[in-house]
Amino acid sequence: MSLESELANARAERIEIIGVTKSFTTDRGTVVALDNVSLKVAEGEFLCLVGPSGCGKSTLLNIIAGLDEPTSGRALAAGQPIQGPGRDRMVMFQEHALFPWLDVTGNVMFGLRLKTGLSNKERREVAEYYLQLVGLEKFGRANIHELSGGMKQRVALARALAPNPSVLLMDEPFAALDALTREQLYGDIQRIWEARRKTIIFVTHNVREAACLGDRVLLFSPNPGRIQAEFHISLPRPRDINSVELARHSTEITAALKGFTSTAGRQASE
């Protein structure tokens, strides 16, 4: 495999979730994290999943990542059943999950080292390319603890992009960051998505964030986890999180979110 072919964009994949139910049984009883959820994500689509915490967003992402199996139903990537994790679907977690015993380049190269057919020099060049893409080319030798929260998530993004996946799964990657850093990253993620054209599934509980990033936003409701509503966001990119049109979309989504959280509240009090 050559460096060019390694750096060429992998074909974005489509993801299909067909009637997936996932329940967890613990000492305290059974939780239905996902109840008969079906959805399709097109090749190269940027899909956002929003909803209050506990509505099964992470569970769904884990199933697509192959880290977890559905209790029933089917999950397909590029038409094939998902059986375990694969480098075609990389994950970015809420906590950065970077390895503190490796420096920045070492972290970005972790997945690349497991790829055969590349020389170490090529791996290093690939890592450098992605560090440059996230604006951290000067920090290759830095230790993880020396980076700010935003920089850590950039490294995590570079690490997820480095094996050239077709699908990028992001689980509230910016939730722990301050507002200013987040706004910068919204710009970056849109730029990178334009450049690398992945299918992205992005989980958040921030409605505005979802409206800013997604082609489409799916609203989840908890107990049991279900898809409640779907919104198409057809604003031009790059989008500004503070723009008025975006605010209209996020108001609409927030209204829908309030709708079912207040009915749930009323049901509970009855």
Partner: protein, 256 residues
């Protein structure tokens, strides 16, 4: 700089008052040798080779036992952390045995192995094994599970995960345990050498004990000095580099 000066000044004053005390004639020179006598003994025994051969014998015992302790302690610790049944059996046993001061192995070792090298080895292994096992297992269990999930998504499985994720993630604990194991092994070996005369080799502990029997206080103090120096050197050579590495990479001191 000021700190270095105050350290040096402290030790100079200490040595001078020691010398003064031994010259004052208040104490029997048998009980309080002068520092010069101690130095002279060190010089003599270095020249005639007694000191080197005793140090060599002791270090051989220590390194062999320590090596065996690590060889079994680390893998068993990894297994103990990752398997429920191992944790409820071996883990529990290790936790109990670890509370036993390692010197307490000496009588048992003597009964089992007699006055042999095997007894020495056994004592050192027991000193090392359990603390390394427990530290390894603690280190693995303290690892955030998200590391494993992240590694899996990047295609790491099986042995690759063990060597490239689990082991390095628990390294600060592991080195903490190795350091403790070293200290236990070193102390118990000295105790064993003092208690046990075996003809296959005279270690530092035996040299110390002969000093007592010969009422050669200069020898006793000299050997004690050597034992301290070895302890300090081991810390500097074996463990400090690791701790500096952790400090730089993790941004912490060693975890323990």
């Amino acid at each position: 700089m000021i700190r270095a000066i105050s350290s040096i000044a402290f030790f100079v004053v200490l040595l001078l008052s020691w010398e003064a005390a031994s010259r004052s004639g208040l104490y029997s020179p048998v009980l309080l040798p002068s520092p010069l006598n101690v130095l002279e003994y060190l010089w003599q025994s270095a020249l005639d080779g007694t000191l080197w051969s005793a140090t060599l014998v002791t270090m051989q015992r220590l390194l062999a036992g320590y090596g065996i302790g690590l060889l079994f302690g680390i893998p068993l610790g990894l297994l103990t952390a990752r398997s429920r049944i191992m944790q409820d059996t071996l883990g529990l046993l290790a936790l109990g045995i670890q509370t036993l001061p390692s010197v307490c192995w000496v009588p048992l070792a003597l009964l089992w192995f007699g006055q042999t090298e095997a007894a020495m080895l056994f004592v050192v292994v027991m000193g090392t094994l359990w603390s390394v096992l427990i530290a390894t297992s603690d280190g693995v269990r303290a690892m955030p599970p998200i590391y494993l999930r992240a590694a899996r998504t990047m295609g790491s499985t099986g042995l690759h995960t063990w060597f490239n994720v689990i082991l390095p993630a628990s390294l600060p604990y592991l080195v903490g345990g190795m350091k403790q194991g070293w200290a236990f092994a070193w102390r118990s070996l000295m105790a064993a050498e003092i208690f046990v005369t075996i003809l296959t080799g005279f270690g530092l502990g035996q040299l110390l004990q002969y000093g007592r029997e010969l009422l050669a206080m200069d020898q006793v103090v000299a050997v004690m000095t050597i034992i301290i120096v070895i302890g300090l050197l081991a810390d500097r050579i074996l463990f400090s580099p690791w701790e500096r590495f952790f400090h730089r990479r993790w941004g912490t001191g060693s975890v323990k």
